[in-house]
Amino acid sequence: MARLELRRLRKRYSGSTDVLHDIDLSIDDGEMIVVVGPSGCGKSTLLRMVAGLEAISSGELVIDGECVNDQEPAERDIAMVFQNYALYPHMSVFDNLAYSLKNRGTPKAEIAQRVEATAQLLDIGALLERKPRQLSGGQRQRVAMGRAVIRKPRVFLFDEPLSNLDASLRVQMRQEIRALQQRLNITSLYVTHDQTEAMTMADRLVVMNAGRVEQVGTPMALFRKPATRFVAGFIGSPAMNFLTFSVNTLPDWLPRVPAETNEPLKGELSVGIRPEHIALTTLEDGHIEGCIELVEPLGSESLVHVRIGGHDARLVVRHGGMELPEVGQVTGLNFQGPFHLFDRHGQRLSTRLRLADTNCSMES
């Protein structure tokens, strides 16, 4: 139970440029923050800095009002679940769970009682005598969780804990982790590269790219109003489609005149459209036409990849119909909005745009 504050955190390795630039983040008591980004964006480094495994180059890390920059990992009273679980291979599950308590000189009777309680919580009571190598992936994951839970830390850290599990187990474990975190109400920082995992688990999401925070917000806020083109492309599956236009040649189906704008738009503009906001239609009704290159049936819907000639772009369309369109067929595409507009630097345009031919408006 703690408030965690990151103030202008920066990481620099000697002789190289910064890998993290002025990260500011404030995490409320019991909140689950998920940091998501492509590999190499610095999210794991950030987590390791919070854990105390990496030194902080500059800035402050504050837990409950106290700056912990110079504290050892053990002093910070945090627990971490590692990607490879990092279970001690030579110890039984019992000893793995008890290790942190033993290190802190907890009386034997209390250790036994707390291991028992934790094992019950995570449903691993029958495994206490086993060694980690005798456990399945999901069981190891639970033991790793148990090791984090047992000493009631102030902060939980998760470093891509589900990436070694198969798909179905991953879905199950992410629900369990989320449920457990909410039940114990422990402030958590969770790092992942999987946007579905991030969306489903987070109270608030932090999207990182190249050592910077792109945007912080609830999953739905980020989905509905991505602040940058990067966030727009990263959040949501399948990813948002982008079409690039010169400001002078904006298509008919986009509003030509921004309603409230401080300065005139220049150069190129990216228009982002989610796959669910494009419909396949006849050539006459379409805003644009393209050739169907690939159809991926998913059962309840299909993903249709359409090559757009003039733009040299491939759009993905979420197609709900039961009959599948044919590959090679030329089709019309109807854009339904909302549209996401980004300037040439990838920043969301802070203008109110309105479609000329519909009443569908979009706030930004």
């Binding site: 854990a51 971490m80 590692f82 990092a86 290790y99 290190n103 802190r104 190598r133």
Partner: protein
């Protein structure tokens, strides 16, 4: 027949069987005849005072060398493991002693500890220690132990370093987060996880101390003074090659082989139980 089998037969079984046969005979001084003597060679060897002394010397020597060489190597490997990036240079430097021939290593240490010429003897004299390994049996023993440790250390270092580098960093990080200090991390995580390496090295170092230290002892002290550094393998050589007691020497070699075999068996039986294979 497989060539390796042939090599084992020629270089191992044949000499071993010859030694076994020889240990049951008494040879005349000129090597022209021999008489079957049963177990007389063995009883004579086992009853002799000098054999007991050599046995005692070997025990002191082997335990000191094995523990010393492994302990120091582990310490160095732990330090090298911390400075991972520099470890390649460090590792190469620390492997060098192993490339030095035992006899050369012996001479090297003999010079450094030479009572009249040696730099280290001079340093010891400055500290008020009267150093003369040619007269003082304990000092002679210390010298051969140091030389042998120095030689074997690099071998151990390579294995320990490989073992240490095989431990995932996340395990030690998890232990640090779990509140274990560096010392406790070492004894509860690192040490158990390199126990297979340690066990292997224990066996190898024992064999080294029993057999391969001959050259080191021969060049530094020649078993002296007064047999203070005469280990079993050195006595075997002296009795057989210098004293020409071939039967007695063969009996000693058979005994030595049995002893090392037994020791290895004991190690596998009792020490290996505590090894954490994972």
């Amino acid at each position: 027949m497989a060539p390796q089998l042939l090599i084992v037969l020629v270089f191992f079984f044949w000499p071993a069987i010859t030694a076994l046969r020889q240990s049951l005979y008494v040879q005349d001084a000129f090597g022209l005849g021999e008489t079957f003597a049963g177990l007389a060679n063995f009883t004579r060897v086992l009853a002799s005072q000098s054999y007991h002394e050599a046995l005692f010397n070997t025990a002191i020597f082997s335990v000191s060398v094995a523990l010393g060489a492994m302990g120091i190597a582990l310490l160095l490997a732990t330090m090298a493991d911390r400075v991972l990036r520099a470890s390649r240079v460090y590792r190469t430097l620390l492997i060098w002693p192993y490339a030095v021939a035992p006899a050369a290593a012996g001479v090297l240490w003999m010079f450094m500890f030479d009572p009249t010429l040696g730099v280290l003897s001079r340093a010891l004299a400055a500290l008020g220690v009267h150093w003369d390994f040619r007269l003082n049996g304990h000092q002679a023993m210390a010298l051969v132990i140091i030389a042998a440790i120095w030689q074997q250390m690099s071998y151990n270092f390579v294995f320990f370093l490989a073992g240490l580098q095989g431990i995932p960093a996340s395990l030690l990080e998890a232990a640090a987060i779990d509140g274990a200090g560096p010392w406790r991390r070492f004894w509860t995580i690192t040490f158990p996880l390199i126990s297979p390496t340690s066990f292997f090295l224990l066996v190898m170092n024992t064999i080294y101390a029993f057999f391969d230290t001959f050259g080191t002892i021969d060049t530094t002290t020649s078993g002296g003074p007064g047999g203070a550094t005469r280990t079993l393998v050195y006595k075997l050589y002296q009795d057989g090659i210098v004293g020409l007691d071939l039967g007695g020497s063969a009996a000693q070699s058979v005994l030595l082989m049995l002893m090392v075999g037994l020791l290895t068996l004991v190690q596998f039986r009792y020490v290996e139980r505590r090894v954490q294979y994972h």
